[in-house]
């Protein structure tokens, strides 16, 4: 069954085929199908239709996106609504990275049959915990007249409240009736009021309304053929962007009262969200995505934390975990806590370490907590000129972009170009032999520089390697596991390098070069805009991003200012419109 709106138009904001695929899978569950029916029956909501490219008018805004919740978002939402002690069993499907971001790939994710089974298992587990005797007293706002039979009033109260938080909008009357009916029938069948609540909650947790971030629009179509998100979709867009979570009750309340529709009201809410500690979560989520930290858990083609423990026994799972946290703490502390310049992230000497990290970095870190605690984070400041300054010298970068058995100047140079500078490095041709580069035992080529020099005598390889190798070789003081070294095969490592014609010496020189390279902050702006939109900018958005880059410079590269500009911009809430105007649909 394809979800449609009340006039029979396709309601999905993505392709018809994809909607059919999703709906077809979900229709295997009776209750899920009922949920779809409930959405279809909503009288006061309209969604954006999709036209074929051949009929598309000039684009001034990009298409609305239907994005699957990421595992982190799913976990955060459950924890925020029901408490952090609710455990989530099951396994999340791998995410898709597109244009360097999972947030963009999320717009092209569907749910397979196996994945739906996992969502079902998680939903059942979560619902059972929420309704169990230990939690129901706190999480269920009312007590039934009898625990052994249905109570539609109490069930409706609970499901209405929880449903709004899960769906990120109020449930329609039909949706509430449907969920209460599920609870009613189950309670009668099992002679257990709470069994009914559990079943209904579980069904909501596998609803596409929960698992996907829908983009709903309302109001007149703009001059350029676009419309804007309705207040609740706007609240979601804002909340997932700044907090990587669903809207809190205050934001939903503002949406309900239309406060997000005015520039003043929106700005006030954005400022509240920027001042919230939850902003840290949002910033961490963005940088985790941008810096490809998901590849630490699920190895990617060019990025992995897999290490040969025979060669690198010091790279423990704890180090791998702490390394990502180190970078995120460094970024949040500099960019949010101290409102520092983004350019300084490449040269900052301030960071945070655990005993495990300090050991692999080879620096003293006396613990200040009772012994036996697994990991205590402590601030640490490197001395001036230390090669460890900046996030590029941290394990999360140099070890992630290395081979399991050896460091890789090529992977690091490629990551620097693509992840930090948003430049594109073509994939190697299919028939290239990497034997010479990977053979560290050849006495003729004892260092990575000598091996790569020999490798790029092949003109097919030379073009790309000239982009990747010079900055990558400047990181050769760091072995695959991130430990510092001065020699390879007994030969002193030469870390001099150049970036786009600018010569420098060593890792600190590279750090300073990146810090002063306008491509780095421009890349951040582009990535952040894509992250917020869930896709590459198109139409007028391209110009908008250019403007953001200029504004970022004017704001002295302060991230909160950039976040505010994006969050308060109309462009974040515009979607292209190619069908019947939504106000016309609503009037029918």
């Amino acid at each position: 069954m394809i979800p449609t709106n009340d006039v029979g138009k396709p309601m999905s904001v993505v392709s018809r085929a994809r909607a059919a695929r999703i709906a077809g899978l979900l229709a295997t569950s009776l209750a899920t199908a009922l949920v779809c029916a409930g959405v279809r029956a909503a009288p006061d909501r309209a969604t954006v239709a999709v036209a074929s490219p051949a009929t598309a008018p000039a684009v001034v805004a990009g298409p609305a996106m239907l994005r699957r919740l990421s595992p982190d978002q799913y976990r955060t939402i459950i924890a925020n609504i029901f408490g952090a002690d609710i455990t989530i069993g099951g396994r999340f499907a791998p995410e898709i990275r597109e244009t360097g971001l999972l947030a963009v790939g999320a717009g092209n994710e569907s749910i397979t049959g196996d994945e739906l089974d996992q969502y079902h298992a998680m939903a059942q587990s979560i619902a059972a915990q929420v309704i169990d005797p230990a939690h129901r007293g706190v999480l269920v706002p009312c007590r039934p007249l009898s625990a052994t039979t249905a109570d539609d009033r109490c069930a409706g109260e609970f499901l209405t409240q929880v449903g709004e938080l899960l769906y990120r909008r109020p449930l329609t009357r039909d949706e509430v009736q449907l969920q209460v009916a599920i609870a009613h029938g189950t309670a009668l069948q099992y002679h257990d009021f709470y069994a009914g609540l559990r079943e209904s909650l579980a069904q909501m947790l596998v609803s596409p309304e929960f698992l996907f971030r829908w983009s709903e629009v309302r109001g007149p179509v703009g001059v350029g053929g676009y419309s804007t998100l309705d207040a609740y979709s706007k609240a979601s867009q804002l909340s997932f962007f700044l907090w990587n979570a669903s809207p809190d009750p205050m934001l939903l309340n503002d949406a309900a009262h239309g406060r997000l529709n005015s520039a003043k009201g929106l700005a006030r809410e954005v400022d509240r969200m920027l001042a919230s500690p939850r902003l840290d979560d949002g910033v961490r989520a963005f940088f985790s995505d941008m810096l490809q930290f998901s590849c630490a858990a699920d190895p990617c083609l060019d990025a992995s934390f897999s290490k040969d423990t025979t060669l690198y026994p010091r790279f423990t799972p704890q180090v791998a975990s702490d390394a990502q946290e180190q970078t995120l703490r460094t970024l949040v502390d500099l960019l949010i806590t101290h409102d520092g310049s983004y350019r300084d992230v490449f040269t900052t000497r301030k960071t945070f370490l655990t005993p495990d990290l300090a050991a692999i970095y080879g620096v003293p870190l006396p613990r200040d907590a009772p012994n036996g605690e697994p990991s205590e984070w402590q601030p640490y400041v490197y001395p001036p000129g230390d090669p460890r300054e900046g996030i590029l010298a941290q394990i999360s970068f140099v070890a992630l972009h290395s081979h399991p058995g050896q460091a890789s100047a090529v992977l690091r140079g490629k990551a620097l170009r693509e992840v930090i500078l948003c430049q594109t490095v073509p994939d190697p041709p299919p028939n290239v032999s990497f034997k010479l580069v990977l053979d560290t035992t050849n006495p003729k080529y004892p260092t990575a520089r000598s091996r790569l020099d020999a490798h790029i005598t092949n003109p097919v390889c030379a073009g790309c390697h000239r982009l990747m190798d010079p900055p990558g070789l400047s990181m050769e003081n760091f072995d695959s596991d991130g430990t510092f070294r001065t020699r390879e095969n007994g030969v002193l490592i030469d870390t001099s390098g150049s970036l786009d014609g600018k010569r420098y010496d060593g890792m600190t020189g590279l750090d300073q070069t990146i810090a002063s390279d306008p491509a780095a902050p421009a890349c951040l702006v582009s990535k952040l805009a894509e992250y917020a939109l869930g896709r590459a900018p198109s139409g007028d958005e391209v110009q908008w991003v250019k403007g953001l880059r200029q504004a970022f410079i004017a704001d002295h590269y302060r991230l909160p200012a950039l976040l505010r500009r994006i969050a308060t911009s109309d462009m974040l809430y515009r979607v292209e419109w190619k069908g019947t105007p939504p106000d016309a649909l609503a009037s029918r």
Partner: protein, 385 residues
């Protein structure tokens, strides 16, 4: 300044941030003659020193414990048929009750581990070989009775009666006759090391790359070691010294050809772990440790140790210890008591200490005394290849 010099000073600057001693290290690098160089280590392995050779045990290796149990019961006068019947139920509860209570006081069964003297001495086999690691503790040299020759230094008059006690049990034997180092302390210590406070060594001298006088501090930390992915002790972690006065031991010594020995031999006290070595109390403390090219060190520490200190954790282990390690606990009690060779009790005349030698290995670490850290050995030692 060339690259190497810059790198060296850069590393030194890392240490400078937290340690006056590290600042001095940097001065050493820039050839300041008055500087003090300090290196710190954390123990990564610890075991009884054993140099086992074929045929070095009178009567051969001690029997397996199940056989020893039968001998113990036989010594009690139990008929052979009864013994066979009892042992048929091994290691069932009823059988273990008989074995655990094989002591006799006034003819009544008592626990053999809390009353080891109530068991008839099973007379464990003792080492009669020529060689043993250790030190000439009594200063008598080759004329010292029951002494050994150290197989490495060939020093005569080595006092190591603990080796005679342990050396005929297969789990306490070591190379060259044994393929592996002693299992008991090796494995037990290795298993337990992340769970008890670490022991650390700090070496200070004017220039540790050259011969000369050194100061050796052997201390107990309040921090535990971390393990790497291969289960080895993680190097370059930081340890705080336990401020308790009984856990700080400073000796004067000498560095010669990369080997450190002590020039004073006062007492040492290190609080330990009750499961393994409750305390390491040594009189006439001797030490020999080698600074290895890979930045680590291995060594030998010895002296006279209260024999009761060695017996106590093993006695607490009781039948579990006997079954797992194959050494008869009351037999160990008698052997330690009989071979103790120092510190006679003024009342009874019985010796209360036994000569010992323990082998250890250590990896570079940062050690913090009060505020500030002593420098770990040069990080460049960690360079690949």
């Amino acid at each position: 300044m060339d690259i190497l010099a810059r790198l060296f000073c850069r590393k030194s600057l890392i240490q400078l941030a937290v340690s006056v001693a590290a600042a001095l290290l940097c001065l050493v690098a820039t050839r300041s003659a008055a500087a003090l160089e300090t290196r710190s280590y954390v123990l990564s392995a610890f075991t009884n020193a054993a140099y086992s050779t074929p045929g070095d045990c009178a009567g051969g290796i001690d029997p397996d414990q199940t056989d020893q149990y039968q001998l113990d019961l036989l010594a009690l006068g139990m008929p052979l048929a009864t013994i066979q019947k009892v042992m048929a139920g091994y290691p069932g509860f009823q059988t273990m009750a008989v074995l655990v209570n094989r002591g006799r006081i006034d003819g009544k069964p008592v626990n053999a581990y809390t009353n080891p003297a109530s068991v008839i001495d099973p007379k464990l086999h003792r080492v009669i070989g020529h060689y043993a690691y250790g030190f000439n503790l009594d200063g008598k040299g080759a004329s010292s009775p029951n002494s050994f020759e150290d197989p490495l230094t060939h020093q005569m008059g080595v006092d190591n009666q603990l080796f005679r006690v342990f050396g005929c049990d297969k789990n306490f034997r070591g190379p060259p006759a044994n393929a592996t180092p002693p299992m008991f302390y090796g494995i037990e210590w290795s298993t337990l090391r992340p769970s008890f406070p670490a022991w650390v060594i700090t070496l200070s001298g004017e220039d540790l790359s050259r011969d000369g006088p050194v100061s050796v501090s052997i201390d107990r930390s309040i921090d535990h070691v971390l393990l790497d992915a291969a289960g080895n002790t993680e190097a370059y972690t930081t340890f705080r010294i336990d401020p308790a006065p009984g856990s700080v031991n400073v000796f004067q010594g000498r560095l010669q050809n990369g080997v450190v020995t002590l020039t004073d031999h006062h007492d040492l006290h290190l609080a330990g772990d009750p499961v393994l070595i409750s305390d390491l109390d040594l009189s006439q403390t001797h030490l020999r440790m080698t600074l290895k090219r890979n930045g680590q060190l291995d060594g030998l520490i010895g002296g006279y140790q209260p024999w009761w200190e060695i017996f106590l954790p093993i006695g607490h282990g009781g039948e579990n210890f006997e079954e797992n390690q194959g050494i008869d606990v009351p037999g160990l009690y008698y052997a330690l008591k009989q071979l103790a060779d120092a510190d006679p009790d003024p009342k009874t005349g019985e010796n209360r200490r036994i000569s010992v030698a323990w082998q250890f290995e250590a990896v570079p670490a940062f050690v913090v005394a009060a505020q500030g850290a002593a420098a770990a050995p040069d990080l460049a030692a960690n360079d690949s290849n």
